[in-house]
């Protein structure tokens, strides 16, 4: 008998002021650019300033979002920590490489190398709270977070753990942005928050953020939702996407009619948004559609923002105007499907149900 999997708390640092959990996108942060940084919380409320100076951005953001998730769940410790990150603390890796090239492999110090390990965030959270349990880090592009969710789901369903801290983090780094502009993965021309999803140009606006959640097989007062199904597909042909989603729903005892909304990973890349548009005009045509990457920016773990948003929708019962993609109104949605892909690869499906 498999146990249920609940999302009991959330924590977020992102391009929006999501670190302040009191509202829900009441005040939207606008931007105009090809990349957009996270809004910094007051880090000194969470981390001693001396330590913060040596910490990579990904570590700092995660210190805040993981702290907030644990606090809301009322936990000091967890049975496992699972983090997804496309590139880890990339800024430290980039600086270490630059230092070694510029100085002919001399005068290097270990801090930047240590923080370059992909599992630095998961390791340091464990170190800070003295968590000796299972500690994994998934680093598979835009399914890094979903791999973490899947792993947590397996453990909680089989009662191998009761509370798991699951996270998603990536940071914005200049070298990464510039080089990815060369190959049109990131937009060359600045674009505004309002325009990005309909920009009609190649590439995306790069963002950053850290999202943490406590998943548990025990429901409690703070519980947001129930994770009921997941799917991950490394590649799908464009024409296979709709059928794959229908088969996925069927396999999990669901139909399109069971969905009160779909959260799509539309990111404004003219070459790949057609995959979402085909769904929006096809199997999802009669379903309320929501978007978020104009608010979060695109990065490997941006789907963590989508997951955060779904849970906020359930908790508040509200659907902010700024996330609506079609005209179909919905209030108090009960069941949401999240679908994400990046550049036609690493497709993920997550179904959440309000608790």
């Amino acid at each position: 008998m498999k146990l249920e999997v609940y999302i009991n708390s959330i924590g977020s640092v992102s391009v929006q002021k999501t670190f302040d959990d009191s509202g829900f996108l009441d005040e939207v942060v606008d931007y105009e650019g090809t990349s957009v940084k996270a809004v910094d919380p007051t880090y000194r409320d969470y981390i001693p300033p001396a330590a913060a100076r040596r910490m990579a951005k990904g570590l700092k953001m995660s210190a805040v979002s993981s702290h907030n998730a644990l606090k809301e769940a009322g936990l000091d410790n967890v049975d496992a920590i699972i983090v997804g990150t496309g590139l880890g603390c990339l800024g430290e890796s980039e600086k270490f490489v630059r230092d070694l090239l510029d100085n002919d492999e001399q005068y290097l110090t270990p801090t930047r190398f240590i923080q370059s390990s992909h599992n630095t965030v998961a390791g340091s959270i464990a170190l800070d709270m003295g968590c000796k349990g299972y500690n994994f880090t998934y680093v598979h592009s835009n399914i890094s977070f979903e791999s973490s969710l899947w792993d947590a789901k397996l453990q909680l369903e089989n009662n191998e753990a009761e509370n798991i801290l699951v996270g998603a983090v990536d940071e914005l780094v200049e070298h990464h942005v510039t080089t990815h502009q060369f190959i049109d993965h990131i937009k060359k021309e600045p674009v505004s928050r309002e325009q990005v999803l309909r920009s009609g140009t190649k590439g995306i606006v790069f963002g950053e953020g850290s999202h943490f959640f406590v998943l548990s097989n025990q429901k409690q007062d703070t519980t947001y939702s129930r994770l009921i199904a997941m799917g991950i597909y490394n590649t799908l042909k464009k024409e296979e996407v709709s059928d794959t989603i229908l088969v996925f729903l069927h396999t999990n005892g669901l139909t399109l009619e069971d969905l009160d909304g779909v959260i799509l990973g539309i990111n404004g890349d003219v070459d790949f948004d057609t995959i979402y548009q085909d769904l929006a005009n096809g199997i999802f045509q009669t379903i309320p559609q929501f978007v978020y990457k104009h608010l979060s920016g695109e990065y490997d773990t941006a789907s963590g923002f989508g997951f955060w948003m779904a849970n906020k929708i359930f908790k508040t019962g509200k659907v902010p105007e700024v996330i609506r993609w079609n005209d179909i109104k919905v209030s108090q949605p009960k069941r949401l499907l999240l679908y994400n892909q990046y550049r036609g690869k690493n497709h993920s499906l997550v179904v959440l149900e309000k608790c």
């Binding site: 920590i81 496309g86 590139l87 880890g88 890796s93 270490f96 490489v97 630059r98 070694l100 090239l101 002919d104 492999e105 001399q106 290097l108 110090t109 270990p110 190398f113 240590i114 370059s116 390990s117 992909h118 599992n119 630095t120 998961a122 390791g123 340091s124 464990a126 170190l127 709270m129 003295g130 968590c131 000796k132 349990g133 299972y134 500690n135 994994f136 880090t137 998934y138 680093v139 598979h140 592009s141 399914i143 890094s144 791999s147 792993d151 397996l154 510039t178 080089t179 990815h180 060369f182 190959i183 993965h185 991950i232 597909y233 490394n234 590649t235 794959t244 490997d300 690869k345 690493n346």
Partner: protein, 399 residues
Amino acid sequence: MNQGVAITGMGLISAIGNNVADNFASLISGTIGISKISRIKTVHEHEIMVGEVPLTNGELEKLLGLPADSHSRTPLLGIMAAKEALAQAEIQDISEYRTGLISGTTVGGMDKSEQYFYDFYERDLHWNHINSLHAGDSTQKIADAIGLTKSFVTTISTACSSAANAIMLGARMIKSGELDRVIVGGSDSLSKFTINGFKTLMILSDTYNTPFDEHRKGLNLGEAAAFLILESDAIVSKENKKVLAYVKGYGNANDAYHQTASSENGDGAVMAMEKALKVAGITPSKVDYINAHGTATPNNDLSEGRALLRVFNENVPEFSSTKPFTGHTLAVAAGVEAVYSVLSIQNNVIYPNLNFKTPMTEFNLVPETQLKNKEIKTVLSNSFGFGGNCSTLIFTKEA
């Protein structure tokens, strides 16, 4: 439910051989793969020794029928090992069952990223490598090469225990019925990035590494790729598959002591081993051979040795580290050693812990220094990494 998960194929490329058979021949004949570095130009070339795969990228691309300069080294090594594993498991149609690929890596395409770091700004000749820094990109390239589509493909990076954790996740997914078949292991190539990183930590030996020796001076970095094929009991019985051995136990724990060092008493290692024994449903006395992490750093060998004494209650079975043969292959160390563990079970042999002379003062632990024949039913293999990550796998002859 202590049923093991069947291993039906293995593939391996390391400094001591381009395939499983060559690796085994080297282990048996005492042929090591540690030498001065030749493929990477580094100012440290006279101060370090490494375990390099002898083939160049060009030679690997030729062997695999891939265009020149199309791949970084991590996926090239990975494709070699994955194809060998699939061939041994006699898998022709990769789409026949729900099949997954889980790979561990630390560097991904860092070798190319560091090489063209400034070149990217100057010309477009190597722009095909811009996106290959992603660890997931190397795994997807392996998936492409073996024709795996519409599937669960992911990458784990927990430093030097990555491949152990990939094997662990794969075994859990088979057990829970999420997948029918999974290719698990890892791939990691040498890079200036890792050489210099470990250099700053001052844990690189300037000579051959000497695990568990009082006078050990540190590790030799290595590169390798290793993959295992795990299959469900249903496939094994339906297709009458030959089973090489079983993944019987696994455990992961965190030392929560230091970002790069292990605790003095090996708390994390003890927990990982105890969890693995519990999953396997066996007592420590059933373990016939331990393939230790044994990196030959002062810190690891002391911590691991103390952990072994705690778990095995002073009755530590025969153990050795095979790192003097291959070097420390980082993310894939546990994959290399998983293959060695299965070969130990298949051939009833314990590999020598080369270069050992003097027992450590802190305890009376002496590894096997000679090749030894003994009936091996159960092997325990340890891998520990940065971030306090500790993993143990247990392999058995019987399910």
